[in-house]
Subunit: 146 residues, 2 copies
Amino acid sequence: MKESGRKVGAVSPCAACKLLRRRCAQDCVFAPYFPADEPQKFASVHKVFGASNVNKMLQELAEHQRRDAVSSMVYEANARVRDPVYGCVGAISSLQKQIDSLQTQLALAQAEVVHMRMRQFSTSSSPGAMDRAVDQAAMGESLWSC
Amino acid sequence: MKESGRKVGAVSPCAACKLLRRRCAQDCVFAPYFPADEPQKFASVHKVFGASNVNKMLQELAEHQRRDAVSSMVYEANARVRDPVYGCVGAISSLQKQIDSLQTQLALAQAEVVHMRMRQFSTSSSPGAMDRAVDQAAMGESLWSC
């Protein structure tokens, strides 16, 4: 990229200032999070959120929160670049489906444990053993504890 | 909001044009997705992505994809307004933790099923029964099929 617009003696510009073709001030809000050797990070957030919104969002946060905010914005922006229709909401939807499937599998496995315990205890003479088998599984007690 | 800038005879502006104080053209790209009676939807995406970026993103999509794109952008923007540090990446992280926990619980429950089957079959005289019990659980066969 042409850097003829930069003033002589200015610090080496961060990726944001380089892309925006502006002087990178000593107190540049972008510089700590968008180093010059990772230009793609800023290009993505600029494309999706816009430099001025990213600037505004960072200014509204305490300094110790900014690195996490930048990471999450870069993640979100990359997801939106990859999938312009759903962005990272696509990932949320897919994770929710995975949770539904795991919950179904878990319910089946726990039901199978109860079923086997009931079969096991039905041959036992201990009174109330069957109820205890159901209660243990329903309460999510350690399955290895019996 | 003052609407004195609108030309006489113009259509009633959508929420986007109302917020941007501009004339809402017949072919306004925002109008189908940002009705005047839901101003908060546009306010959120404008705050997070910026009207010009939303416009650009919509223009780059086929018309049948735009409604879903707007919904996902509104979801993402609301998440960022609620949680300026993590946005909807916070939700992804929490869903991933939930998946890890469910996978652990499922592994325990499946191990318990194998354990009980092995105990059950250890009293059986059928050769290879124990191996079959382990194989069935490991292959994720229906736990009610035995």
